[in-house]
Structure formats: structure tokens, C-alpha cells
């Protein structure tokens, strides 16, 4: 543990890494304040730029972008009533009304402090929980990994965007995409249609750039004439003693909620902020203030969404199961840089892992400073017109897609998945389930095959493994739990 803490602290003595964290925090805040460009899109666009970096620097950059962009969404949520990221949607409910009353500085101060507390809390939990979970994960064999991957997929049913059925359809489609290429055990080519560039399967990076960045570009093309009314901001103010007295319980509660939601596979900051906000309202003595500028509402949403960032890194690094759309990109970053996510990461690369955690901690402190002293400047960036911003994103997307393998096929893949992602979103399907399915696809198939070999083809023996059975039970609850509870409630209600 001492070694781990020393590795974490060593970040402070790496000036290059500190510079990278500083610059990425700025980039992350800019990405966060630009409506449409969220943490996931930003991470997908930034990933190709990390190719020549050392693994620890590359992942630290992506993780820093994740925490800073998640926070920065609140700046535009408060000042222009447009959440920079989906995770800041709940912040608009009270942030903008408070800003309209002339208290924008106070609203931003509460958001910045709550976000920082949430982020730091979740990193502490990450440092404690990740190694413990890794110890449990050492015992996992193919049946457990298969069941765990199914559990991860089942959680897609409850992510915020889309509906349960549509999300699972997206997840299954993603898993099918993972079958494209040569089958790992037998080498039989599947769905390649004679294109040998697909022999190792679809590359994650161009698919992600397409699904997140290019599809968002097409979505933004529908909203070109959206009028933006910005609220005047004099200066960001730290919360007063009275504000602290009112929000401290809410912040602590949201820290717990956000971290827990983040740890759940496929759940992310958006769900966390919504639940954090709803719980803040439920426990508040001033419910009537919610929706009209409640400081507890802002604190509840902001502490939860940033707490989810550290939580989401737990399943990503320990189990190789992304905790959110952005951690799916970070997971790809780990793979691209030769770091195999899983419990062995915590014994073989312990320094790297804790340096990444340290970078996230420093990023939280950096955005505290930036939020307090430069929010006014960053808010102006959000007013960059779409007609200038998104063509630039197109240029970044296609060059980024090309960069990983120097392959034009990757560029076409990005464009095709951009259109697929756009059409999916047009019909109410979220794109994150496709990305998560693509990542988990190989894990599901390979571990199912190995389990079948272990049990001589008797697939039902998977259920006799206690941990695997538990994960499969959770997967069943994830898929059908809400329907069963609704049915039970209706039955009990009608019998009364």
C-alpha cells in the first residue's frame, strides 16, 4: 500500500506529466463547455493524440479529460441553460434559475466545490476498492468472466438514454460487431467479405470516433438556429458558511450515490447526477426551492456526477468492463497502450495504475482552481458558433480515425458508424450500448467457449459456479428486475 501511495505521489515530481494534466484540464474544460462535445466524444478525439506517449501519460491524459469535462458541463448549464455534457443536465434545473436571479457566481462556486469533493471522494474510494476487488477477481475463471460480461451487458437496460429494449438491442448489435474478423480459436473468417484489413476485427478507435463524434456532428446539424441567452457573470464566489451548512449533507450523500452508480458496469455520470439530484430533493427541508434555484439541487447533481468518474474507473481497470461511455474509450486507450485491464494490472503495473489515480486527483484540484478563476473565460468559448466548431471536429475526427493504423479503411469505418450512430439516435437508440457491446463482445464469446471446454459442452454447469451464478442472477435482475417489481407492485396494489 505504501508503494502504491508513493507511486501516486510521484506524479507531483513528474513535471512533464503535470504539464500534460494542466493542458488536458484546460482542453477538458473547453470540451465540457461546448454543448454536444462531451467527455466521451472528447476522449475519442483525443485518443489518437496519445499514441506516442508513454502508457501512464496517455491514460492520465484521458482520465484527466474525463474528470475535467464532466465538471465543465456545469458552467454552461448554469450560465446559458445548456448542459455542456449530458451529466450536467440536472444542474440546469436549479443552476440556471439561480443564475437568472443574479447569483451565477454563487451557483458556479457551489458547483465547483461540490464537483471537487465528489471527484476526490471517488478517487479515495477507487484507491481503496480497486485493489480489494482485484484480489477477488484473481479467483475468476472463464465462467465467472462470462457471467460478469453478461451482467455488464444487462446493465445497459438501465442506462439513461434510450429505453431498456432499445439499449439491449444496441448492446447485442455491438457484441455482433465484435464477431467481425477471424474467430480467435479457429481462425475462421466471419463477415469480412474478402477484406483482409478486417482480419483482426473492427478497430475500436474509428468505431468510437464515428459513434460519438461524427454522429454528434450530424445531430448538431439539426440545431443550427438554436438561440443562446447567456447570463451575466461577475465573478465565481466560494460558498458562504450558510451555503456549506445547507449543502454538506447533500454533498456527502451524492458522493456515495455517485461513486456507487459509477462502479456499476455501464452506468455513468448522467444517471448518477439525476439520482443525486432526486435524492437531494427527497431529503431536503426546502423542497419548494427545487427548480427555482436550490443550492442543494446544484450540489446534489454536481457532487454525484463527478463522484461517478472515479467509481466508473473501478470496473474498467479491475475487470475490463467499462463503467460508462467515456471509460469505454479509456479502456480502449489501455489496450492500445499495451495495458491489459484486469486484476493483474494491480500486481504487474501497480505504479502505472496509481500514477493514473494520482493524475485524476490532481486534475480535480486543477479544475477547482480553473472553475473558480477562469469560468468566465471558459463560458465565452461556449458561444463559438456551431458552423465553425463542428467542421473543425470533422477534420479532427477523420485524421484521428486514420492515425491509429494509418489506414483509410478506418476513416470509412468512422464515417459509416457516424451515420449508423446518427440514425440510431434519431430513432431513440443510445450509442453507448453499441460501444460497450463491442468491447464486451470478445470477452463474452471467448469465455463462453472456454467455459464450454471446461465443462465438456455442458453449458448449464456454468450455473453451478457460485460467483458465476450470482452474476447471472444480477444480470437477470438487471434485465427484468424493474418489470418484475412493477408487476408485483401492480398485483399487490390491486389485491389491496
Amino acid at each position: 500500500m505504501l508503494d502504491a501511495l508513493l507511486a501516486m505521489g510521484s506524479v507531483v515530481f513528474d513535471p512533464y506529466l503535470l504539464l500534460l494534466i494542466f493542458l488536458t484540464t484546460i482542453v477538458g474544460v473547453i470540451i465540457g463547455v461546448l454543448p454536444g462535445l462531451g467527455a466521451t466524444t472528447g476522449a475519442a478525439l483525443l485518443l489518437p493524440f496519445t499514441l506516442t506517449m508513454a502508457p501512464v501519460h496517455a491514460i492520465a491524459v484521458l482520465a484527466t479529460l474525463y474528470v475535467s469535462a464532466t465538471f465543465a458541463g456545469s458552467i454552461t448549464a448554469i450560465l446559458i441553460n445548456t448542459p455542456g455534457t449530458a451529466a450536467a443536465a440536472a444542474t440546469t434545473f436549479d443552476g440556471y434559475p439561480l443564475a437568472k436571479r443574479g447569483e451565477a457566481g454563487r451557483a458556479l462556486g457551489i458547483a465547483v466545490v461540490s464537483s471537487t469533493v465528489g471527484g476526490v471522494f471517488s478517487i479515495i474510494v477507487l484507491c481503496i476498492c480497486a485493489p480489494l476487488l482485484a484480489r477477488v477477481a484473481y479467483e475468476f475463471r472463464p465462467p465467472e468472466y462470462f457471467a460478469l460480461a453478461l451482467f455488464g451487458l444487462s446493465m445497459l437496460a438501465s442506462i439513461s438514454a434510450g429505453g431498456a429494449v432499445r439499449n439491449v438491442i444496441g448492446g447485442v448489435f455491438g457484441v455482433w460487431l465484435a464477431t467481425i474478423g477471424a474467430e480467435p480459436t479457429t481462425g475462421i473468417e466471419r463477415f469480412m467479405f474478402g477484406n483482409y484489413e478486417l482480419y483482426e476485427g473492427l478497430s475500436f478507435v474509428p468505431v468510437f470516433i464515428g459513434l460519438f463524434a461524427i454522429s454528434e456532428l450530424l445531430v448538431q446539424s439539426k440545431h443550427l438556429n438554436r438561440a443562446i441567452v447567456a447570463v451575466r457573470l461577475k465573478a465565481v464566489m466560494l460558498p458562504s458558511r450558510e451555503d456549506y451548512r445547507r449543502i454538506w449533507k447533500t454533498v456527502l450523500r451524492s458522493c456515495g450515490i455517485g461513486t456507487f452508480i459509477g462502479v456499476l458496469p455501464a452506468e455513468g455520470a448522467t444517471v448518477a447526477s439525476m439520482i443525486g439530484y432526486a435524492e437531494a430533493r427527497r431529503w431536503s427541508k426546502n423542497k419548494e426551492e427545487f427548480g427555482n434555484g436550490s443550492v442543494e439541487g446544484i450540489a446534489g447533481a454536481e457532487a454525484a456526477n463527478n463522484a461517478a468518474t472515479g467509481g466508473a474507473m473501478v470496473p474498467t481497470m479491475v475487470l475490463g468492463i467499462p463503467g460508462s461511455g467515456t471509460t469505454a474509450v479509456i479502456l480502449v486507450g489501455l489496450l492500445v497502450h499495451g495495458l491489459r485491464p484486469g486484476p493483474y494490472l494491480f500486481t504487474e503495473q501497480v505504479d502505472t495504475v496509481y500514477q493514473i489515480f494520482g493524475a485524476m486527483l490532481i486534475a480535480n484540484l486543477m479544475f477547482l482552481a480553473m472553475g473558480l478563476y477562469a469560468a468566465k473565460l471558459f463560458a465565452r468559448i461556449s458561444l463559438v458558433p456551431s458552423k465553425i466548431l463542428w467542421p473543425m471536429v470533422f477534420a479532427l475526427s477523420v485524421i484521428g480515425a486514420y492515425a491509429l493504423h494509418s489506414s483509410l479503411l478506418d476513416v470509412w469505418v468512422a464515417l459509416v458508424f457516424g451515420v449508423i450512430g446518427f440514425l440510431a439516435r434519431r430513432h431513440g437508440f443510445a450509442v453507448a450500448p453499441i460501444a460497450v457491446g463491442l468491447i464486451l463482445g470478445e470477452m463474452v464469446e471467448t469465455n463462453l467457449q472456454n467455459s464450454l471446454k471446461m465443462f465438456d459442452g455442458d453449458w448449464w454447469l456454468i450455473f453451478t459456479q457460485p460467483l458465476a451464478a450470482m452474476f447471472l442472477f444480477f444480470a437477470f435482475l438487471g434485465l427484468f428486475g424493474s418489470a418484475i417489481f412493477a408487476w408485483l407492485r401492480a398485483r399487490l396494489w390491486s389485491s389491496d
Binding site: P48, R190, P385, H427
Partner: protein, 162 residues
Amino acid sequence: MRPGGRAVRPAMRTLVLPALIIGFSVVVIWASLQLDLSPPMIVGESMQPRVFPIVLMIINMGLAVALALQYRIAPPKQIRLEGRSTWGTIALFGVFFVLTVYVDMIIAIAATVFLMCLLWGERRLPVALAVSVLTPTTVFLLFDKVLQIRFPRGLFTNWYYG
């Protein structure tokens, strides 16, 4: 076809979307059945490579039926048809493809960015021109000099690389 003008009737979508998903699944199952079989000594007690995609598509067909039933209970919201800017942007992807294959990738990016700026409503030609020249040039130089990535040969890159 102006944005916000016509809209797709929800009744149509209750069947069209699930039908499309089922159709896609059938095509994938058919394609899976065309895959080679692996010798039993390699596969052992595991499954043939064609089985997993078929199982996935059967699940998807079940989900498509569930989606159709869900739509009948709660019809989906009307979709506003996209305007010129969206379909024009998708068409620009085609322009980008042709220019990349036959001219040069960097020139294709510059041309697409320029046209996209105009399509999205930028009326100041110098601004559109500046964005379309500076963005790809900056990103190209960054990738070329810092990340040392070679771009595909074309009109501009032939001149640049010599």
C-alpha cells in the same frame, strides 16, 4: 423538405423499425450459415464459429418483437425530418470519400470543412476559408511532425513528402 415540416407517422414506425431489425438479423443468420465449419478436433466441446452470431441474432429478433409490442402500447414520438444541413452533411461525406480516393486526403478535408461551413450557414467566406485551411494544416503538421504519422499519397502529400 424543410426541417420541422413533415414528420414520419408513429404508426409506420411501430412496425418498420422492428421489421428492419428482424430483416437485418435474418441476413446475418444467412451469412453465418455460409461460414466454414471448423474441424471437430479444433472446436472440441465448444461451439462452431457460426453459432455465436446466430444466437445473438435470435436474441435480437426477440428484442425486435418486444420493441414492436412496446411501440403498440406506447407509440414513439414523431421524428422531425432533418433539413438540408443534415442530409447535405452526409452527402459531403461522399464528396470527402471521392476527393480522398482520387485527389488527396488533406485537400479533401480542407474542401469538406469549407463546404460544411457554408452549408451550416457561415456567410463570411474569409472565415470559412481560414477554418478550412488552418484546421487541417494544423492537425496534419501535428500528426506529421509530433506523432510521425504518414498520410496517404495524393496531390498535396506527394508535394510535401517529395
